[in-house]
């Protein structure tokens, strides 16, 4: 188990390195001049030249890369071109917002999805059919559209929640809840649908296994068989889906943050992309990839722990 964790961690480091290098070279190759993009349409060539010098864009590519890499290894991700802030502090400020959404959505959709999928697999019948239908709707509706509708109905029209803005948890837990509820719900629908579907299939699969019948033959209580044994064995597949969904959630969070004007990584990513702010985009991509890896590591560890074949190795 320890060896498993170590290899995964090593893989994470390598991944971060490769992703950052790849992105750096992708962003630094020919394309729009970032200096011109940052200054806007009315910038004169003299102004652009000054800006280029400021940003160090005229240095050769390999040296720029090594500079960035050296800084990144010590935690310095450079300075954002469009805001002059340190990229690392910008990300540090904004990451909690995005994580609130992503983690909140994953937790809520896991609970919802696993519960619904499980019940649906056990009960079957009309409940199962209804769930299947709801699952597809949830899966098919684009998250940003749902966010738009939720915002229009619950925030703008009914005024139950603030339509924009974010209150940090440390400032006011209830305020924080109010600002993240709608975005999390918007994100949850699609993810819960996937998880429910996967759980249902997995539980159905387990129920078909011989040992379930054999366990029942021992006269064990209903809940013991269905919850302790079935759920335990059915858990692995949904966990796999959850980890995939988390990756997708980071993208979904971008859309939803834009609708609700939340100061998270998502809005930052869009504005950085529009303004061609290379250090910022680079920082976001790296942090995004690392976050995904960490979450996957956690989930994989749980899955491995659940699987005796791995645990006993």
């Amino acid at each position: 188990m320890v060896r498993f964790l170590l290899t995964r961690f090593g893989g994470a480091v390598v991944l971060a390195f490769i992703v950052s290098t790849g992105t750096f070279f992708l962003l630094s190759t020919a394309g729009a001049d970032p200096a011109a993009a940052l200054l806007g349409i009315d910038a004169t060539s003299a102004q652009i030249a000054v800006k280029r010098a400021e940003l160090g864009l005229d240095a050769p590519l390999p040296s720029r890369y090594l500079n960035w890499l050296g800084g990144a290894l010590t935690g310095n991700l450079g300075t954002s071109w469009s805001t002059n802030q340190q990229v690392s502090s910008l990300i540090a400020t904004r990451l909690p917002v995005t994580l609130s959404l992503a983690v909140g959505a994953i937790l809520l959709s896991s609970v919802l999805g696993i519960t619904l999928g499980y019940i649906s697999a056990i009960k079957r019948g009309w409940l199962d059919r209804t769930l299947q239908f709801v699952v597809v709707i949830g899966y098919g509706l684009p998250g940003f559209w749902v966010a738009l509708v939720l915002s229009t109905v619950f925030a703008v029209q009914l005024g139950w929640f603030p339509a924009t803005g974010y209150t940090p948890f440390t400032q006011s837990p209830t305020g924080w809840a109010g600002t993240v509820i709608l975005p999390i719900v918007a994100l949850t629908l699609g993810v819960a649908a996937s998880i429910a579907q996967q759980t249902r299939d997995s539980v159905l699969d387990v129920l078909r296994q011989g040992y379930v019948r054999t366990l029942r033959s021992r006269g064990l209580p209903h809940w013991r068989v269905l919850v302790l044994h079935v759920l335990r064995n059915a858990a692995a597949a949904p966990l796999g889906v959850i980890s995939l969904q988390f990756i997708g959630l980071l993208g979904g969070a971008i859309m939803v943050e834009n609708v609700f004007a939340l100061p998270g990584l998502g809005t930052f990513a869009v504005s950085s992309s529009i303004s061609s702010d290379v250090p910022a985009i680079l920082g976001i991509v790296v942090v995004g990839a690392v976050t995904v890896v960490i979450v996957n590591l956690i989930l994989d560890s749980v899955m491995a722990w659940l699987n005796p074949k791995v645990r006993t190795r």
Partner: protein, 622 residues
């Protein structure tokens, strides 16, 4: 009187995947929706008189009218037209992405699965890497360099989703690769390409289609999302750009979010539904055909103990009818370990057990013999109340260790399972919960039924394991099922079954899945246990050697009916029914006798104790 014609258990109807898909209402509906969407996209010029860029300032944000059936947008363009031409954009975008993903992912998976080794490791590693990238962020990075050029962005998306196809292709390829026939094909000189094409691609076609439908939906939504963020090309109509326009006009015309959102949602849902339906039709899960039956409840019938005389339904053609030889008299049923009276089992419209009645007396070993499909397992499971949900058992009466179990619900059955009636299944390794240790699975029922402490249960379990012949019982307690051999696992299952001293043990072909030498040991074990505890055993088997070895009485089943009953000696030496004779003839000829087998065993373990000779002499069984 006539017997119901013997029909086999329902076999899956052989239909093509496509036809099965369309027979599934969900599959049909989603296919139709998608065809309509594609048609709208292709035939757009026919369905509207406006060109996609036609606009009229007087029509800005116009409401629905004859000229504009769905109204007009913020630039005065007809919404219906925008939807139609926007469908083109979405479909093209999705197709590019999906095509790229398949073109990259499938060959990579094939190569990876087929070649294996380092190439596989490298490709798998790359695939994991790509899957860890948050797609939208990467696409934003791409757009920041290349601009909102849809084909480029969709190619990038295709690359990001290629791992999905890589993985399913790879696992299918691996599965086939390990088949023996592939080696044979290679020896015969078939090129890898040929092997892949003929054997791998057919199996992986289905999953690719399903995944393709899903990825297509994902790509369309992702493309729309990017356009919604303002990163699209405003001079080309598309659903995402329409939503961007809707957002700009949210205060003056909130209704603009409806139609492009619906278009996106319907397309995406239809693709998801199509994927689900494809999944069902490919794995032959006929969701519509078989209705889940209500929880099997035997109708309240007359009590088993008073069921007398002619249950004519049980009779087959004349000779040695089950009813006549069951002897379901009050004498035989009172105090019996098991009473089954008039059991019928149906699946859907097909009846597979046609009125079976018999008893098992305390301490008796009864063999239930028949070929596959005779219904013997159905009878065994019905006695435990463990038939699948799709089965409909009907009983005139059921008695378990003196308890009237007629009309028992599952909850009622739980009271007697484990304590009065127990079960040993056929496949040992797949009948142990892989996630829990041997010790846990032994202790669990004991603690529940016997209400003893964990320590006590632990000790009992260790003793049980020793009793069933496990050489290191303490160590085995901590093992997981995947660490056991087949023989050990079956012993564990037997130990678990007898742990709470049931009056009756139902063993369903307990040795069929084991090696020959192990078979003998397990049978010995069963016999010893039975002798010690005077436990009744109902053993289901197709092997007359087992019958000869263990059984006091035998029931012979064919096609859901008991065709002959009798003592083991009678059945074996003087079978009445022609079927029984046929069975005996077939089996005894080919299988070695018990005596021969014992001799082989003795010879093999010549160095072992002298007890082996004692074992040999105890083979004759009345």
């Amino acid at each position: 009187m006539t017997t119901p014609a013997a029909t086999p258990a329902p076999a899956p109807v052989r239909r093509g995947t496509a036809r099965r898909l369309l027979a599934n209402p969900v599959g049909a509906a989603s296919s139709i929706v998608l065809v309509v969407i594609v048609f709208c996209a292709v035939a757009a010029p026919l369905l509207t008189s406006y060109a996609p860029s036609d606009s009229a300032l007087k029509d800005v944000l116009a409401e629905a009218s004859a000229a504009h059936p769905l109204g007009a947008d913020g630039s005065g363009r007809d919404i219906w037209t925008q939807l139609l031409y926007g469908a083109r954009q979405s479909l093209i975008a999705g197709t590019i992405a999906t095509a790229v993903a398949i073109i990259i992912g499938v060959p990579a998976g094939l190569i990876s699965g087929y070649r294996g080794r380092r190439l596989d490791t490298a490709l798998s590693w790359v695939s994991d890497l790509v899957m860890s990238l948050p797609a939208i962020i990467v696409l934003l990075a791409v757009i920041s360099r290349t601009g909102p050029v849809m084909p480029v962005v969709m190619v990038a998306f295709g690359l990001l989703t290629a791992p999905f196809f890589y993985r399913i292709t790879r696992s299918s390829t691996l599965a086939v690769r390990n088949e023996l026939f592939v080696d044979a094909a290679q020896v015969a000189g078939l090129t890898p390409l040929r092997i892949l094409a003929r054997h791998v691609l057919p199996t992986v076609r289905g999953p690719i289609l399903i995944q393709g439908a899903l990825v297509l939906g994902m790509a369309i939504v992702a493309q729309a999302g990017l356009e919604f963020l303002g990163l699209g090309d405003p001079s080309t109509p598309s659903w995402g750009t329409m939503l961007n326009d809707a957002l700009r006009n949210i205060y003056v015309a909130p209704q603009l979010i409806v139609f492009p959102g619906l278009a996106l949602g319907i397309t995406s849902c239809a693709l998801a539904l199509l994927g689900a339906a494809l999944n069902d039709s490919l794995s032959r899960r006929d969701t519509a055909a078989v209705r889940p039956a209500p929880r099997a409840k035997a109708p309240r019938a007359a009590s088993a103990t008073t069921a007398a005389s002619s249950d004519g339904v049980a009779s087959s053609d004349g000779v040695a009818s089950a009813a006549a030889t069951t002897g379901l008299s009050p004498a035989s049923t009172a105090g019996a370990a098991l009473v089954v009276d008039g059991l019928r089992v149906s699946y859907g419209a097909t009846e597979v057990v046609h009125g079976v009645s018999f008893t098992v007396q305390p301490g008796e070993v009864v063999g239930l013999v028949g070929e596959s499909g005779s219904g013997k397992t159905q009878v065994a499971l019905a006695s435990l109340g463990l038939l699948p949900d799709t089965a409909r058992p009907v009983l005139r009466g059921l008695g378990i260790d003196g308890v009237d179990a007629t009309g028992f619900t599952d909850r009622d059955f739980r009271r007697v399972r484990g304590t009065r009636i127990a079960y040993v299944p056929q496949e040992p390794l797949s009948n142990l919960d892989p996630a829990f240790t041997v010790g846990y699975q032994l202790i669990e029922p004991m603690r529940h039924h016997l209400k003893i402490s964990k320590a006590e249960a632990h000790n009992k379990a260790v003793a049980l394991l020793a009793r069933v012949g496990i050489t290191e019982p303490e160590a085995t307690m901590a093992r997981y099922p995947h660490q056991l051999s087949g023989g050990m696992a079956q012993r564990v299952l037997i130990a678990a079954a007898v742990s709470c001293d049931p009056a009756l043990l139902i063993a369903d072909e307990p040795t069929t899945a084991l090696d020959v030498t192990v078979q003998a040991e397990v049978l010995d074990l069963l016999r010893d246990l039975q002798r010690e505890s005077r436990m009744a055993i109902l053993i289901v088997t197709h092997n007359f050697g087992v019958v000869a070895d263990l059984c006091d009485r035998v029931l012979v089943m064919r096609s859901g009916e008991v065709v002959e009953q009798g003592t083991a000696a009678t059945i074996l030496t003087a079978p009445q029914h022609e079927y029984t004779r046929a069975l005996l003839g077939a089996s005894l000829d080919s299988a070695p006798s018990r005596r021969d087998r014992d001799r082989a065993l003795t010879a093999a373990s010549a160095v072992s104790s002298t007890d082996s000779s004692l074992t040999a002499s105890e083979t004759t069984h009345a």
